[in-house]
């Protein structure tokens, strides 16, 4: 199978001008400014098969967005080899740009003062989408994202959730084969998040599109990606199945119990840490290896109606990967 994305030893350095704080700092920086090189990416390597969807995660400033911008041809790298769909992204060949899309949750391409339908029409012309294909793919997107009502309203009058769904349409009208999604659900409410996620999953399946997804919302990642690539301080620290990540870094398991009557918290604390107690529900965390024993003990010594053992939430696993940051 053809590899859709190949990234090898990718580095990117930025020149940063240093400014001392305060008024005197501002004044002196007019005459002399020190610059220093900051390494945003320090030899990043990974690859994706065609049709694969991965979560690309890491704390703020880890280099996620920089990587996506290089992959989509916006930034030139300092060093390294990148090939996406057989092209070198930063050459920005039109044939390449017609096959990709970068969707950023914090950015909009829709014309602010005009209805979204105008932007769609412009994109149809820019991407040279044949009329028939355009109509079909627009109708389909409108249907799935349920935005029919908002098409002819000036964009500035729409809510963020409505706008984001229209942004997705603008970004996907040309049926890209490779999609870079940067925080696609940022600022959306839970219902809208779910809509966007469902849509991304469908799109990936139906069009065999290759998808790289970055998100701080671990629901996005857990819901969409089987494989994750974790980046920190400009380097890859994990690349593998999501379940392996949890197995490797999760040190705890979560036991949720529903008790009958009252329980002695002190006795409970001997078994595990109480994370939350909203009677009759109590959530405990216990060391991973001791989960079975703890469950058995709980059932034996406490008046328990129901008990479940769960994995730690992905957020807290990720927090452990980054040593407390996140």
């Amino acid at each position: 199978m053809e590899r859709a994305v190949i990234v090898e030893r990718l580095t990117k350095e930025f020149e940063v001008r240093e400014r001392r704080p305060g008024l005197s700092g501002a004044l002196t920086s007019i005459f002399s400014s020190k610059t220093k090189m900051v390494k945003a990416l320090k030899g990043v390597s990974f690859s994706l098969d065609e049709g694969e969807m991965i979560g690309f995660i890491g704390p703020n400033g880890a280099g996620k967005t920089t990587t996506l911008k290089i992959l989509s041809g916006v930034l030139h790298p300092t060093q390294g080899f990148v090939q996406v769909a057989g092209y070198t992204p930063w050459e920005r060949r039109h044939d390449y740009l017609r096959q990709i899309s970068l969707v950023m949750g914090q950015k909009n391409q829709l014309w602010w003062d005009l209805p979204a339908s105008e932007t769609f029409e412009l994109n149809r012309a820019i991407y040279e989408i044949p009329e028939k294909v355009y109509k079909r793919s627009l109708d389909e997107l409108i249907e799935v994202l349920k935005v029919e009502k908002y098409l002819n309203t000036p964009v500035r009058r729409l809510s963020l959730g409505q706008r984001m769904r229209l942004e997705l349409i603008a970004a996907l009208l040309h049926k890209p084969k490779v999609i870079f999604l940067d925080e696609p659900t940022i600022g959306l409410d839970v219902v809208a998040q779910q809509k966007v996620r469902d849509f991304i999953r469908q799109y990936n399946k139906k069009n065999k599109a290759t998808v790289i997804l970055t998100s701080h919302n671990m629901d996005d990642v857990a819901d969409l990606a089987k494989r994750v690539v974790v980046i920190d301080k400009g380097g890859i620290v994990f690349d593998g199945a999501l379940s392996d990540l949890v197995g490797r870094f999760a040190k705890k398991k979560i036991i949720k119990i529903c008790v009958e009557g009252s329980v002695d918290y002190k006795k409970l604390e001997r078994i595990g840490t109480i994370e939350e107690a909203k009677m009759p529900l109590v959530t405990l965390s216990v060391p991973r290896g001791a989960a079975k024993m703890a469950a058995a003990e709980l059932l034996q010594s406490f008046p328990i109606e129901d008990l479940t053992i769960e994995e730690e939430p992905l957020e807290s696993v990720i927090r452990q990967v980054f040593g407390g940051k996140g």
Binding site: F14, K69, S72, G73, V74, L75, H76, W90, R92, H94, D95, L97, R98, I100, S101, L102, M104, Q106, K107, Q109, W111, D113, L114, E118, T119, E121, L122, N123, R124, A125, I126, Y127, E128, P154
Partner: protein, 267 residues
């Protein structure tokens, strides 16, 4: 391919009309300017037999009216937004699309010029009726053709110069409006939008004619007025052509280097 840029024109046109009040203010400003210059020169030439710098009353007033229209064609622009787009990181949006950035803005410019010119013609007609100036109608075909060709070149030269200035934020992110403002002020004076350039001393004029500025407004109007003809017309066309090609090369050279420098900040 051509359809692509036609669509850019179309949406830009609609957008321009979405900002009606801004547009009206811009037109008002331009009309008032002409009014001011008109009355200034009208009083200088209150004696109809007087001739100054080779201008009589009819020619100077034609110059002023020509200004209104030629300025609308040459100096109406959207490309002044480019520097802000680069500095804010909005450029990222454009880089992702299979479209030439400079071409895109050129076509947005054309639509801005179209609207402004249409309005300028109507305004000039109204002012003409109100002010009843004597008007010099050029009948020499060479002069009219030369004028039209220079007008197209002037449009392109102005666009390219402005684009070049707008690329500064690739290197100095915070330098968006100041350089553009400086450029617009300088070009206003040196292009002849305030007064005809032949009021300058001979020596300064000679140097000025080597720069691209006079070919924006002054020379085209001079050609229309029949003051630049024959060899001089050909020399003007060649100089303007030289600047046009030179600026095209410069813009594409700087653009390529700018992209390597581009940091896509804030987006």
């Amino acid at each position: 391919m051509r359809k692509k840029y036609f669509s850019v024109c179309r949406i830009s046109f609609i957008q321009e009309l979405a900002y009606r009040s801004k547009f009206v203010v811009e037109r008002l400003q331009s009309v008032l300017q002409v009014f001011l210059i008109f009355f200034l020169w009208d009083s200088v030439f209150s004696d109809p037999s007087r001739e100054v710098f080779g201008y009589d009353r009819a020619k100077i007033l034609t110059y002023v009216f020509g200004l209104l229209i030629v300025k609308a064609i040459v100096a109406s622009t959207k490309a002044s937004d480019v520097s802000g787009i680069i500095s804010s990181g909005e450029l990222t949006n454009y880089l992702l699309k299979p479209i030439g950035f400079v071409k895109y803005w050129f076509f947005r410019d054309i639509s801005a010029r179209g609207i402004h010119t249409a309005f300028a013609v109507v305004e000039a007609a109204i002012l003409f009726v109100i002010l009843k100036p004597p008007f010099f109608l050029q009948t020499n075909l060479m002069s009219v053709v030369g004028f039209l060709v220079l007008l197209v070149m002037a449009m392109i030269i102005f666009f390219l110069m402005l684009t070049l200035v707008s690329f500064i934020p690739f290197w100095l992110v915070e330098q968006t409006w100041p350089p553009i403002f400086l450029f617009l002020s300088i070009s206003e004076v040196l292009s002849g939008a305030v007064f005809p350039l032949d009021v300058f001393p001979e020596a300064i004029q000679k140097v000025l004619y080597l720069s691209p500025f006079p070919y924006l407004i002054f020379i085209p109007i001079q050609v229309y007025l029949g003051k630049v003809v024959g060899m001089e017309l050909i020399r003007s066309l060649l100089t303007a052509g030289f600047w046009m090609v030179g600026l095209m090369i410069a813009v594409s050279w700087v653009w390529q280097r700018g992209l390597v420098h581009y940091r896509a900040e804030g987006r």
